[in-house]
Amino acid sequence: MVASRAIGSLNRFNAFRILRSRGCSCRNFSGSSALLARTHVNYGVKGNVAVIRLNSPNSKVNTLNKEVQTEFMEVMDEIWASDQIKSAVLISSKPGCFVAGADINMLASCKTPQEATQISQEGQRMFEKLERSPKPVVAAINGSCLGGGLELAIACQYRIATKDRKTVLGVPEVLLGILPGAGGTQRLPKMVGVPAAFDMMLTGRNIRADRAKKMGLVDQLVEPLGPGIKPPQERTIEYLEEVAITFANGLVDKKISPKRNKGLMEKLTAYAMTIPFVRRQIYKTVEEKVRKQTKGLYPAPLKIIDVVKTGLEQGSEAGYLAESQKFGELALTKESKALVGLYHGQVLCKKNKFGAPQKDVKHLGILGAGLMGAGIAQVSVDKGLKTLLKDTTVAGLGRGQQQVFKGLNDKVKKKSLTSFERDSIFSNLIGQLDYQGFEKVDMVIEAVFEDLSVKHKVLKEVEAVIPDHCIFASNTSALPINEIAAVSKRPEKVIGMHYFSPVDKMQLLEIITTEKTSKDTTASAVAVGLKQGKVIIVVKDGPGFYTTRCLAPMMSEVIRILQEGVDPKKLDSLTTGFGFPVGAATLADEVGVDVAKHVAEDLGKAFGERFGGGSPELLNQMVSKGFLGRKSGKGFYIYQEGSKNKSLNSDMDTIFASLRLPAKPEVSSDEDIQYRVVTRFVNEAVLCLQDGILATPAEGDIGAVFGLGFPPCLGGSSAGWQVSLHPGALIAASFNKVLFLCPGPFRFVDLYGAQKIVDRLRKYEAAYGKQFTPCQLLIDHANSPSKKFYQ
């Protein structure tokens, strides 16, 4: 019952707004005697069928909490007691949402694991009663059916779902560090088979209705309707209800069997699962995979496996008991708290706190069709923005257009788009070599080469053609926006929009405002970013902004560690062992050694000794030898096309040898190496907050996790540099596995303790010097333990 609005469901919230006001409370219930003043759950009777409607007041979504549960059970009791009623339909009156999950706050208030266990047990009892209902209950699902919502649905006797894009089913509990605690771990394996159930529970992925039908998660599909006698969504819900009622009657008359005909493969799988040896193999494989991917840093996935295993091997009673107990244990872990915090942060970063812009951006101009420019174009055209993509050469432009097409075509292959939709989306993109049509654009995003003079040149050129209201956004990873804006005629319209590569995969957008940037410009940039599906942090201008700035000292430390003779492979395993999605040395290769060098130089000048540590000479020598990382085939590692295994670049040995520094044994244990990397990141992040670059710690955490991949109980690693360069497939890949979301540097300070971090910093400071000096804000937090970034 537990679980919750999943992170994935967030991006659908916008749509709910549309029809909210037309609540369905006004609908007529024929012969309803039950229009009592219940707040969340009501029902009417149509013939012999009770139609139970979920509609929590003052909310865009239905969530499960104590009140809802109580009312639902009251309603069920009345239905069971009634002679007239033979069956029931369970439906939500909210467009786009069946039940988005259990109320997260219900868990937040738990003080002990026992309390959380009790919540789970109440949910279990309720759904067990529902499952044993003598009168069939049909769940009519339109919109998100997640977490506790799905557990509710699978306790019903029959499920009908609309084949709408908004209709998704899933158990995202794992993303919040918990498990489906209202019988989900026990019912799902029986319903969809053990492998599919593991997949759902361990990834938390959303499943679309048509897929759910194939898996056996729902029994029937209803196509969404177009306009008719009523608005489409409203009529679709009504139609869903009508269809559900026919099926409810059919179930009573035994014309319809709730049992599904299984395919041959399913039958075979089911048979195989009866063999203990096969089951053991499956547990083993899944567990190994999880251990490998989580490095044992997340307890929830392993507990999920455990609970499922208990249910299958020792019977449901033991299974339910294990489920509720493990649920209680997980709910109070710091991992869960951190993930829940991250979830809240993400909700925050999906809102435009600057209000609605005066003018909607409908026409977008993009300068530069490189990886970044084309990536930005890709996430814009599929949201309906008319996009002009300008480059200087036909070849460059063609490459960019192909990148956009490929991105869309990949979706066709995955069947999330039809080829027709692809073509019509692709016609929103106009490639060109001149500024024709720029007089109509509302916003220009430049993604040209990272060089101030080039940026100045295009800014001046484009300002000559764009209309007065048009915003100029610069996609740069480190060049200060005010320096770019210096040549602008209208600096209030200039803003930074720092995308991360690959743009269609990386969720973060860092928006940078200067002193002169107007509020409306910011509002507009945020609105565009949200439209593009981004999680947005808004930061103040400064060298490296936030993400790049935090990364630089960390990378400096990485170089130092390498100079001290730590093998890149070992460093990688230490950093991934701490929870970074990608090892530090691999990261440098992915980002590009030349970029790292570039940024290190720029920021080194700006920040001086705080960015010291490793010798810049290492990067210089690598660049001069052409070891630019993956893009040149050699970096710290050697990369071969088509081969996943990479070996160390032995040519690096001479470079290492020439720059070798003695390791300091007192700070060179494995743990110290991990913390040297991490504390520098954290210190810099806190300093960003202290300096006012960051407005809130939440944005700092979101930026670190979504832009950089900060580790589990930590903040972020770093993909930010890849900007405008290498796609970094590896990093993207690890981001796709949402299993490993992490809470960010500020929450890390809260959880780990500011004092302990300061202590570590002091220790390293003694060994190395000022680059480890803790910042004032961190010291303040250490001095008063009650001070937390998150209250």
Partner: protein, 475 residues
Amino acid sequence: MTSILTSTLKNLPNTSKWALRFSVRPLSCSSQLLALSAAQPKSKKTLAKPNMRNIVVVDGVRIPFLLSGTSYKDLMPHDLARAALLGLLQRTNVPKEVVDYIIFGTVIQEVKTSNVAREAALGAGFSDKTPAHTVTMACISSNQAMTTAVGLIASGQSDVVVAGGVELMSDVPIRHSRKMRKMMLDLNKAKTMGQRLSLLSKFRLNFLSPELPAVAEFSTSETMGHSADRLAAAFAVSRLEQDEYALRSHSLAKKAQDEGLLSDVVPFKVPGKDTVTKDNGIRPSSLEQLAKLKPAFIKPYGTVTAANSSFLTDGASAMLIMAEDKALALGYKPKAYLRDFVYVSQDPKDQLLLGPTYATPKVLEKAGLTMTDIDVFEFHEAFSGQILANFKAMDSDWFAQNYMGRKTKVGLLPLEKFNIWGGSLSLGHPFGATGCRLVMAAANRLRKDGGQYGLVAACAAGGQGHAMIVEAYPK
């Protein structure tokens, strides 16, 4: 040679002809009005427009519409089209050489005769100097043929045009898969045995899986029946209503057939088979029988069944369209005027079959008429659910305001004037040929029952629609 002569002759006195017409028009109009007002108490204006030639339908015919897979199954589309053309020639006795142009509509093209109009015209013995082209616009293809003819005549390009349509669903082009086609084409080009062998070695068994012509809307991948079922649901049209409407269509068609009202049908001696004299899809049944059918598209709970949908049909139609002056000069007594027409289009997913709803008010407005001025409605019946959804859409203020940009609803269509000689559900629906049938049904009904205006409307794949006003030619 003769045709060149006639055309030059035609062109020479053109200006004087025009001048003459202008001076004569007011007179003729008023006399028409007088004549009409004598016949009908609610005197109506005619829709003749200044500076526009009056365009008339001299007559139109169709071969019987047959369920596909029956008597026409061994023929080719141009055979049917030729039969319709021959029927038209026989009915009207039009001298072949006066025909300036021939246009046919068709949907599923036979690859061998992709310009089926030309092949049929040649075979029917029309002059090889008469150009012909084929148009396609899904179920309103022959409407497009007719309105193209109207355009040619109105612009003075032609005086006499034959328009028609044909569809043969008994045989459709089924292709090799793209992979197979590619391999075969490459094999053609291969020069050496080695190249051929290496190409052949790439052959896989799945190359042999055939490609059927699309039954689904290309843009949405949804079949039309599926869309119709959703449309019916969106307008809350029940299964019973749909079955009742289907029964009405079949009963009315049967009655019309029995009473000999379907005078546009011409017999067709099918080579090697008996002469076909009447439509064979008319099957009045009972509501109980209809209720037994299972849904055909949205299973198991949809409402569109085989019985309340139009069936796959073979058939062809043809129509002789002329400038009024030309018709009179040739001594014809035309059947009707072709007046204002419109084409509309909308969302091919959710409003695929709502064309008539959009086209009807638009064409009325264009003609300056209201719903009550119309004496005869002839709508294409793709599905019962589609017709009833269009009824409800036109009768809904909400829909008019939110989707049609109107202040009020279009209004309820008077059922007593609506498709009373049956419709596509019962008579059949050879996609390319239905438009001409609709216009001829409207014209013949006006002649028989004495009204002045008929409104023809149809929906078509691609979310398109059409409507046209047919005005009775004064008797």
